[in-house]
Subunit: 377 residues, 4 copies
Amino acid sequence: MMGLGVGLIGSGYMGKCHALAWTSVATVFPDVRRPRLVALADATPELARQQAEAFGFSRGTGDWRDLISDPAIDVVSIAAPNQFHADMAVAALEAGKHVWCEKPMATSLKDATRMRDAARLSGKTAILGYNYIQNPMIRHARKLIAEGRIGDVNHIRLEMDEDYMADPAEPFYWKSEKKSGYGALDDFAVHPLSLLAVLHGRITSVVADMAKPYPDRPANNGGRRNVENHDIAQALFRTELGASGVLMVNRSAWGRKGRIALQIFGSRGSILYDQERMNELQIYMTEDPADLQGYRTILAAPPHPPYREFVPAPGHGLGFNELKVIECHELLQAISGEHDAYVIDFERGLEIERTVHAAAQSLEAGAWINVESISPQ
Amino acid sequence: MMGLGVGLIGSGYMGKCHALAWTSVATVFPDVRRPRLVALADATPELARQQAEAFGFSRGTGDWRDLISDPAIDVVSIAAPNQFHADMAVAALEAGKHVWCEKPMATSLKDATRMRDAARLSGKTAILGYNYIQNPMIRHARKLIAEGRIGDVNHIRLEMDEDYMADPAEPFYWKSEKKSGYGALDDFAVHPLSLLAVLHGRITSVVADMAKPYPDRPANNGGRRNVENHDIAQALFRTELGASGVLMVNRSAWGRKGRIALQIFGSRGSILYDQERMNELQIYMTEDPADLQGYRTILAAPPHPPYREFVPAPGHGLGFNELKVIECHELLQAISGEHDAYVIDFERGLEIERTVHAAAQSLEAGAWINVESISPQ
Amino acid sequence: MMGLGVGLIGSGYMGKCHALAWTSVATVFPDVRRPRLVALADATPELARQQAEAFGFSRGTGDWRDLISDPAIDVVSIAAPNQFHADMAVAALEAGKHVWCEKPMATSLKDATRMRDAARLSGKTAILGYNYIQNPMIRHARKLIAEGRIGDVNHIRLEMDEDYMADPAEPFYWKSEKKSGYGALDDFAVHPLSLLAVLHGRITSVVADMAKPYPDRPANNGGRRNVENHDIAQALFRTELGASGVLMVNRSAWGRKGRIALQIFGSRGSILYDQERMNELQIYMTEDPADLQGYRTILAAPPHPPYREFVPAPGHGLGFNELKVIECHELLQAISGEHDAYVIDFERGLEIERTVHAAAQSLEAGAWINVESISPQ
Amino acid sequence: MMGLGVGLIGSGYMGKCHALAWTSVATVFPDVRRPRLVALADATPELARQQAEAFGFSRGTGDWRDLISDPAIDVVSIAAPNQFHADMAVAALEAGKHVWCEKPMATSLKDATRMRDAARLSGKTAILGYNYIQNPMIRHARKLIAEGRIGDVNHIRLEMDEDYMADPAEPFYWKSEKKSGYGALDDFAVHPLSLLAVLHGRITSVVADMAKPYPDRPANNGGRRNVENHDIAQALFRTELGASGVLMVNRSAWGRKGRIALQIFGSRGSILYDQERMNELQIYMTEDPADLQGYRTILAAPPHPPYREFVPAPGHGLGFNELKVIECHELLQAISGEHDAYVIDFERGLEIERTVHAAAQSLEAGAWINVESISPQ
């Protein structure tokens, strides 16, 4: 008997990452049947055919709707540009397919709500590609927090920083257009918020600031063009469990490449994490003897599932792409009816979107905003 | 001919630190005449005499006013409890002494203003013990920023965290009383603000949050007592030079011991610093070739003044107490009329206090506050 | 037209790693035709069939000779136990297949020599699975050294440490038998020696020590059994380029998980690397201004080939398994006649084996040994 | 009643370090009577007088024998050039003074033996300035090892590296002359050996290599001059407690400034230390739960004596100079008859010298040497 039939829309960076996951998941996880790579859709038939061959899909198509209507396909990976997510996801769900959609969920709260509604109605599995939560070290942090190793969490600091917009000499491009979103706030903040969602819980209120390090940039036509959104954002927040916290994101932070730094403080200890050293987790515990207290650096190892499926030896290191393989495995668990599947589904994804919009509204208001006041509609 | 006559009020932790500075400064710095350690004042004559002998002062006294009126004394070190700073500093200045006062400056903005006014009137040198700015690595950061190595600074993150209030089982004590201040905000925030003052400039507006990790604590009489101020505080801010930033302080941060972490981002690079590794500075510069870009860790060394005065070999490390020796040297420079002396005087100290009060007011207002709106009176 | 036909012998840990590489290589590298996964051989037909299905091979077989005689197979991956490497590799080469053999090359110098001779005779590509050299950061180190960034290399320290034999309560098993080899010396030393081979050059003379942290271990039958080889080894060495160095390996080093630490000192700088942080490289260069000198930490990024093929964004991190994908790509380059393919072939592999045996002989001799004196026969 | 009378010979770098210790010790340690700084001797009367005033000594003298014969002096600090150590120490001991002599002990084994004999005969306290052992983190490591936290120690790696001889363009100076010693071996190795002495025990046998990164250097007269000793040395060793180990020293190691790195492996854990981060200690313990094992970084803090005497708050950091203050305190303890004083006395110092000479002899012999075979005469 054959495994699930897979369709992939988009074969750029994230599409390739999905393809690697689909092609590797059964090799890595012994409990998984090998998926059938049925069809790949991209902008043109030629590109689609070429990438289908490279990635091992049976056929390529220039029309994503053709892919969605293929009865051989059970699950659709959506790795197309953000503005298409909503239409593709809704169409796929309506066609009775499971959906694995890259983040950000959508470019408007309205679209995100539409996607959530379609998922509810279809009864199919619909998840978002928040792969950072799949890191065995993040799962381990989650387990340690749940065990009470750091006591009751009372303070959280979240940072996400890269430097791909840091060069003021870089010409204006679409990422700086207002219609592409708030800037760093929706580009980045969703990632640490996904981590917060699995490690702690929801944000209830927020006050934010956003800043432009460079007010304008060289335009392609020779002059200069005003930057329309914000490469830097920061917010103070409170959570449903009573913690205070700070969220900081910056896509023009020279020197930071893939930093997602967490500091989680509790009544009995604390946990630190930095995505740039994704195979390490630090914990401080007051249960240690006084003269032996200190942050211990735990290396990714077999006791931290599902690390063992990749390498049986500790400390050998997983990579960014392998988080997608784990996510793919969780998706397959969810599809097969496993209720504990560890994913950000469209319900939780919508919650994250609402938090982002609440932060943006707080800036306009110059005051704290309750996330609940942001209508999911 | 003899050096300056020194009086020291207070012989606890910070008093001892001043004593070490006064006794070491001429040994370390060849351009300094050895100061005369004239008198030490403490709560009782017995304690004062005992400590005077231990620290090498000629006499001890139970009355600080007696010390201030001693004509053999030229400069007064104030390391007494915070609530006495204002009276002592004003009295010393009025008696024509130079003043070296520990931070925080005072327990009210009114007192801090009174101290500033007395300093203005006296024409004497009056500085605050913001020793962290004296670290050769902080001075080096200042030089590198001034040279434009990281370009125009556009974003700053400041953290100061310790864990001495982190244990919820610790009984209530005076630090949790409202009358001792806002909590972490004035206890800690002044330190990163002093660093901001020398590395960048003034904060112009701020919105803050403050939190209590533990609403009450065991009372000495057996029951529980409500905590009256906040062990955690965070603020968003903007600076006079157009940077955005975040200030975070937490005195109940398990695992943090003496952390003062700076992240300073500019248009051409960034600088990182952590007081827990006070002999290191990290810098990222886009002037490096693309395939060689990365944070470099600079170890404290002779090219970073005044490290060389302590050890001629690089990488051997200064300690916290030695920052006070450097501060003492700067004080002596200031007293001898050196206009470039690198200190936080009472003028700048008052600015720092105003920022702290602006942050506190923003919490009450639930909105941004302009620091200028905080009357120094 | 179809890609190369692949046969895999062995489906344990390293077999799985090969399978992942074969299934991913064409997805990652756009210049590669998708290989055909023809057959997988393992100890029993049942196991082989099951693993073939899981890993995506067309068929499974319980007889590796059957696999080697399959005309649809062009290249054979050997991931079987070490004692079979020689027979399998020689048979495959004699059958006109290319060979990709896991390290260590063989369990005797005689066998290794036999493999080298068969490779010479066949004219086929025959490489060893020294995957650590494939890390983009190691390649980058190689480029930086070749560019003269650290000047002439004069001193090298190599360490490889894990702790899988560190527990004295672990029962005796085959790794402690004399017939399995010298112990840490051949188990581990070949890895740093492979790195030395690509980063610097050959070792010419050596003096070694080997030690047993635990002279005996619990035997399965209830008593205790003497440990017959050495879990710790260290050697002083000289290289053909005139550098001095130290090689240290320890498989009972509590706390070390996958450490392979390099320190390479030259006349103008130095380079540091640790496999446990495999996405980082540190370099110190005297070409930096004096007050800015320090080790810079370079994160894996697109300027370090072939990182870009995996992720276009810097600092996102590769994992241990992905090094095998790179190695697979280099193997394909070699097979297609690319003379610069970056691999450890059987010639260089034999050199590494000779160095290991020279170290062992120096212990018996209690004196320095010239590697040239170790006959490849 | 007054404290001990102190004489100091030499007012260069280490003399200044002694002066700082003598002037600070009573301020830091409450159990110490303030010493009297009686006299300072240096090369000329002028220099001596000037430095005496700067450092707070009552008088200066150009004749060290005059200082030694001063009845007001009880203890003599020797911080003069190495070749004078033996004559000064022996003379001081014969005059009934206690002696605090900088390392290295002497420039020949014969001189070192003479010093040891004089110390024995005098019955006075005679210690060497091995200040690195005084670091609270080293003492803490010693306590943890003694408690069995890492089990039985079976392997040790010691490194000491700096880069003050790393520049090949630096002109030849006396450090490269044969008569100044073996080079890095006696310049550096004594430091890690002092740490080994307090943390573990004696070395019993050794085989060493020494290397010259630069065979010649620019001579002052314009040509080039052959380097006569070795800037790099490494040795394999065995200890009296059955551990194997490696000792590596390099004074031309670009990038290393004050590195003294220790790796100590035992049957239940391991300890790491690096002098460049002298306020940190790392320990790995198998007594931790499996999923929580990792190196923990312990910051210097009040539970690590005598840190508390310097600062009551944890994580604030001691500096290199403060180790000398601790050493001074231990010296005072020893003088007052405290048998547990934690110092390297002339007996142990001679042991360290013998080990260094054994290493040097092993190079000539091209074979292992027993340290016992090195006659202390």
